[in-house]
Symmetry: C2
């Protein structure tokens, strides 16, 4: 029975890693759709999110089934519970990528991103893709050391997020408030995407060490609320 | 053993209802702090979020302990798993209320909300408080019929959210982009707050009926992406 159980757990891990791949692909393609005002690509990102939702559903069914049939304890129990939480993070990351794609679609044939914001959006897309792929490698290898460094990757996103808001709130803004709204939401989506990747990293630490602390277990605290520019 | 188990489950339910109360109080007080530029109140909302985090932590420990010791199956298992998901929604609602309070604190001694947005913010705060208290009553009574109506309450929030964005993107905007950024984030926080309450309602339906569908089980889809005003 334990052999079968561990076979099932391996399958769960594979599904989680596959979810990180899908989320990485989604945010990368959504960023391209946004920058190139590519409607077809945006539509494909929006449609593909259903795959991530299906995978999450399958994974959660499997996890509940494992709990019911195998009644795991200790580390095995922790693995199943943690997998369900990671799948929730990863599904949400897919939603956020889809939101980016929807803004691309909404503003087509224009791009929602003014020229001087393109470079920052490119960087946000790169950081987002890289952090979720890193999360996948961490899950696959149960890599606690890697997981401990993922917060530093998120710092890069927070810096970009801060830069974004500072530029939007600058006094010489000339793009209208509709674009300000779009960019505020976009920046928030990328930042939350990275937060969920950090949360996945923390969950791997919990999984392996059993060490519970609010940061390692709860959702990673999102940071936008300390990043708003102060009133000048 | 089953009697002890059901006693423990009742305790979990009580904790969930208590979490809805704390989240309701937080969003109500955060709204007041925001509108009155009340720094002391804003600080107290920010500090009180730790109580919600603690309660979530306790509840999750209890749930994992129940899984390990009692190895529930069928409805009992569903109850434990669903409780962990609801606690995650409710903790996140507390975070969102804290975000509102942090914007209030950031803009003190000014109010982040211009005069003509006050009425909409008042309404958003009322809908948010009412929907989380409703979610609490639904949890306490396992009220599937009530849970089926909670989406309609969320529609009121979506209408307010849409109104907000339309007004921000209007061509006669005179409040600067910093205020546009603040209001965009605020509107998003209230809207996500209500989404999580809907998600709690869906989870109660799943808990009682065992009926799994993506809407009833996954996080409630947030709706902001269809609400952005179209480019004029």
């Amino acid at each position: 029975m334990r052999k079968a159980f561990h076979h099932d757990l391996d399958r769960v891990t594979e599904d989680l890693v596959e979810m990180t791949r899908l989320a990485g692909s989604a945010i990368s393609r959504a960023t391209t759709a946004l920058l190139d005002a590519d409607l077809v690509l945006a539509e494909s990102v929006i449609a593909a999110d259903a795959d991530l939702d299906d995978l999450r559903e399958r994974l959660d069914f499997q996890a509940i089934d494992l709990l019911a049939r195998q009644q795991p304890v200790a580390t095995d129990l922790r693995m199943v519970v943690t997998a369900m939480r990671m799948s929730s993070d990863l599904e949400r990351m897919g939603d956020l990528a889809r939101h980016v794609a929807k803004i691309a679609r909404l503003r087509y044939p224009s791009s929602a991103v003014p020229a001087e914001f393109r470079a920052v959006v490119v960087d946000m897309g790169r950081v987002a893709e890289s952090i979720v792929l890193k999360a996948g490698a961490i899950i696959a290898a149960r890599d606690v050391e890697g997981a401990r460094t993922i917060e530093a990757d998120d710092d890069a996103m927070d810096d970009l997020h801060r830069l974004f808001f500072e530029r939007i709130a600058a006094s010489d803004w000339s793009h209208g408030t509709e674009t300000a709204v779009d960019l505020t939401l976009l920046s928030r989506y990328y930042e939350r995407f990275a937060d969920h990747a950090v949360s996945v990293g923390h969950r791997v630490i919990y999984l392996v060490t059993g060490h519970y602390d609010p940061d390692a277990e709860g959702s990673h605290e999102d940071t936008e609320d300390v990043l708003l520019p102060t009133r000048r």
